[in-house]
């Protein structure tokens, strides 16, 4: 990702604040919402670098004069990305904007298509994040809270700052082993 990653000691990811102005043959941007102001800002910065940009959006349209397409759902987005990368030059950079779960979903698709981690820049929009219950494997959306109750197994979870790139989620572990569901002892 960004050069900040190296100095970042924990698994919590660091996200891009501007496209890195490095040489490349083309840039592809995947946007969860192409009409978001941040997407416009990134596209503008990329165009200033005089490198070809393709924008693929899940919803919305960018107000910008950029080559853009809209796909109907996540599955089509994955298919479109695979097609775009199939014959892409090696020096391709991918930018992904959206919530954290969307970012890491696209990150996994891109790596499977042959992009290296250093070629992918993630732009996090919004505060929603995914929580993974280590007890029942359920994934649920949370905001910034440090504790949550698992939607599936009902265990009260401590949200650890341990982030899984594979799952795109933070690890939730049982908050109180003596009283897992917060119901008090029988």
């Amino acid at each position: 990702m960004t050069s900040d990653t190296a100095s970042h000691k924990h698994s919590t990811p660091v996200y891009a604040e501007a496209p890195s102005p490095v040489p490349c043959q083309q840039r592809i941007m995947l946007a969860q919402d192409a009409s978001h102001a941040e997407v416009a800002r990134f596209v503008e910065a990329m165009q200033a670098l005089q490198q070809p940009v393709t924008l693929v959006g899940l919803t919305g349209r960018a107000p910008h004069a950029v080559q853009q397409e809209i796909v109907s759902d996540r599955a089509s987005l994955g298919q479109r990305l695979t097609v775009l990368l199939d014959d892409a030059p090696l020096c391709t950079r991918l930018h992904v904007s959206g919530d954290e779960a969307f970012l890491w979903h696209c990150h996994a698709l891109a790596q499977a298509a042959g992009l290296a981690d250093e070629q992918i820049e993630l732009i996090r929009l919004g505060q929603r994040r995914h929580l993974y219950c280590v007890h029942c494997s359920c994934l649920q959306e949370i905001a910034e809270e440090g504790e949550a109750t698992c939607q599936d197994c009902g265990v009260r979870l401590l949200v650890r700052e341990h982030f899984s790139r594979r799952l795109g989620a933070y690890m939730g572990v049982c908050l109180d082993a003596c009283d897992p569901r917060g119901e008090g002892r029988p």
Partner: protein, 314 residues
Amino acid sequence: MTAALEVQVAGICQLTPVVREFTLVPVDGILPSFSCGSHVQVHIEAGGRTLRNAYSLLGDPADRDHYRIAVRLQEASRGGSRFMHEQLSVGDRLRLSPPANLFAPHSRARHHVLIAGGIGITPFLSYIAELQAKGASFELHYAYRAGLTDAYLASLRQRLGERLHGYDSLQGQRLDMGRLLARQKLGTHAYVCGPQSLLDCVREQAAMLGWPQSSLHWEAFAAPEPGAAFSVTLTSNGRQIDVPADSSLLETLEAHDVELPNLCRGGVCGQCATGYSSGEVEHRDSYLAPAERATTLMPCVSRGRCGSALTLNL
């Protein structure tokens, strides 16, 4: 450290006026298996000291009854390649450090671009055996001087056909590195072995294009070049050791029973990195980042600048 292997020279073949191939068989038992891209260190007793020169293992990694290495006679040799060319005979015994690999092909690459300069062809001979066996997609670019550093060219032509691209410097044929790198698709990995000028050229072009660093792999097998004599002081016991002009710091430390972990002995792998606290260093490695050089040096290739005394954190 792993015990050295005892081998015997079973065959010598002069491939070009400056390149000799040696077939080495175990004195007893079988040899350790190796992965493609591996090298061994040959312990050479020359001029009253032990040099350890690294040579790529040629041929098919599946063969375990013999190893093959090819040695280019270096003009500015410190004696290692000269010994191998002029003194080593069939039947002689040699000691080898077991195979190590710092230059393996990437397992998930969709296409491999191999770039060799002169004797830098050697690691690719084992690559080709493996890539062909797997049916992998690859191309080989081989820059050489006809009749001098074009070892294995004829057999490679036969084996590879159009996948071999040869560049003879005598005929002014040049490899357009920028174009070669620019036309590669996603999923390609490139591997370079050859003289420093070739590595520099590839790295410079790759950086200009924005190649991901993880897609570029390189190996330089330059023996340490001589320089001015200098001395080092060991911090732990205050011992002072003089490094002669034609020995590397690593070799000199080894001769004084100071053993450091090491694999490539060419300033690439980073194993022997050693801290220092005073003195001016002439850094000759391809491993350390500029910021690290203020406090760390690679004793396999680097030296005290203009005879500067160094204090090592050893």
